[in-house]
């Protein structure tokens, strides 16, 4: 009695699993993490008779802030468990510089400027199981495009990412579902407020709806 329903469910879900050539479209909300740049010192040359270290007029801590945005994906199944997809992310983080330690005691201030950020990427996904709740992992790479205030300057870069998530399918048809994902992106290029040419890690989480066709 216990075995029979279990087999029946497996057959049902197995029947509805995506086959090679099935497309999947998804979209939803996105949260993208920020990162800090090296502290910048506004230094003046010290008069040698008054000391040796530079005279720091003030210091600034630059940062690309966290942001919310939106994302969309279009994927195609290469088999029952493997799919590829292309996606685009859009967000509007702020570029900020927190000034402090002013030589003449100017109050600490955060100067901010919004930027428009796009990531266009491609990913390879692997689905672990065929149930109503399907976990997956993904890896991929993308192109980063950041547009500064008033479209005055465009900075570009690239990224590689990895992560995972789950898809939860609604109802018996298994065509509509919910998708949640977390990923870490390693970015190179893009806007920089320091002289370091290093990759920066950016976490992101997203959640939205998914549809198979």
């Amino acid at each position: 009695m216990l075995v029979v329903p279990s087999i029946a469910r497996a057959q049902l879900v197995g029947r509805d699993l995506p086959r090679m050539g099935t497309f999947e479209i998804s979209g939803g909300a996105l949260w993208s993490g920020g990162y800090s740049f090296e502290t910048a010192l506004a230094n003046e040359t010290r008069n040698p008779t008054t000391g040796t270290a530079p005279l720091t007029l003030f210091q600034g801590k630059p940062r690309l802030d966290t942001a919310t945005g939106a994302e969309a994906h279009l994927g195609m199944y290469l088999g029952r468990r493997v799919s590829i997809e292309g996606g685009v992310q859009f967000s509007r983080p702020s570029l900020t510089v927190r000034t402090s330690a002013d030589f003449e005691n100017a109050p600490e201030t955060t100067a901010a400027s919004p930027i428009t950020q796009y990531v266009i990427d491609g990913s390879l996904l692997y689905q672990f199981r065929s149930g109503r709740l399907g976990p997956f992992v993904s890896v991929g790479a993308g192109y980063l495009r950041q547009i500064l205030e008033n479209n005055s300057i465009v900075e570009t870069g690239n990224e590689i990412h990895g992560g995972g998530g789950v898809k939860y399918w609604f109802g018996g048809g298994r065509r509509f579902g919910f998708r949640a994902e977390a990923r870490v992106s390693s970015r190179s290029g893009g806007v920089s407020l320091d002289a370091l040419a290093k990759r920066r890690l950016v976490p992101a989480v997203s959640a939205g709806l998914v549809y198979l066709f």
């Binding site: 008069n47 008779t49 008054t50 007029l57 600034g60 003449e104 100017a106 005055s152």
Partner: protein, 332 residues
Amino acid sequence: MRRIASLLVCLVCVVVFGGGVEAYLKLGTRANGRSISLQWKQLPIRYFVTNRSVSGVTATQFQQTIAHAFSTWDSVEGVALSSQFAGFTSAPPLDDDSVSVIGFANRPNLDRVLGQTSFTFDVVTGELVESDIFFNASFQWSVAQAGETDRFDLESIALHEIGHLHGLGHSGLGETELRAGGRRVLGAEAVMFPIAFSAGTTLDRTLRADDIAGIRDLYGTDTSRRATGSISGRVTKNGVGVAGAHVVAFNPSNGKLVGGFTLDDDGSFVIAGLDPGPQVLRAEPLDDAETDSFFDATVNVDVNFKPAFSTRLIVVPIGGTARNVEIKVVPK
């Protein structure tokens, strides 16, 4: 119609004169109700050097040092400037004779003035036609490569004065302290700061970002203008413009500091020659030197406010201007 602009003085140098000035400071005049920058139109700038020696500096060493200081300005990337040594002369500097002369002069009465620059210019076009520089022979001078204790480095001071000769005014990028007998510089980030480093140092043989932005503003090539940008805006206190505020643009990507000033009662400023990209803006009162080192009496300089930063991170466009920036300050 030509006339000689008047001179002003500070420990290092001089300048600022009758008529309006534009942000930076550049030297300028007012003709038909508009401001005109003073600058040379005929290049190369031909100059004579006096054949006078002083203690520690022969006439030949003097000429070589002046030529090197000229070449430092001439070699700024993106600038169309050139100069030419025309020969030695026995004529004293500061004569109005349509010949630019640079040399030593005994001025013991100017006991805080290392050097001074004077100009003859066309009051309609702003074209410079003559500029003389004297270095005060009452001080001890040095041309030693590493400098000499208790002697002022001639090349450093010449670089400053030749900046004036090109049409640059004083920079406000420096911090000072009051001491008996005057102000002492704690730090500066512009050769064009009006007060010199102490005797014995050679640090001002190198142009800083502020000096380079200034000379590019005056003599920049079209290519360099297209590659840089500017910021315009106002400094306000209780909604009213602040005149004579020193505004500094800081590039957090490379640490460059470039300064400018508000020059009218509206509190308006323009800072040109900036690297494209994000810049932090800071406004401060002009309290690190005498205000007449920077402005003439027509500017109603307000020093009664506290330093403050803009809450907007300004993105300087490539070849364009970031406009409508407002820095709000409060009274002291």
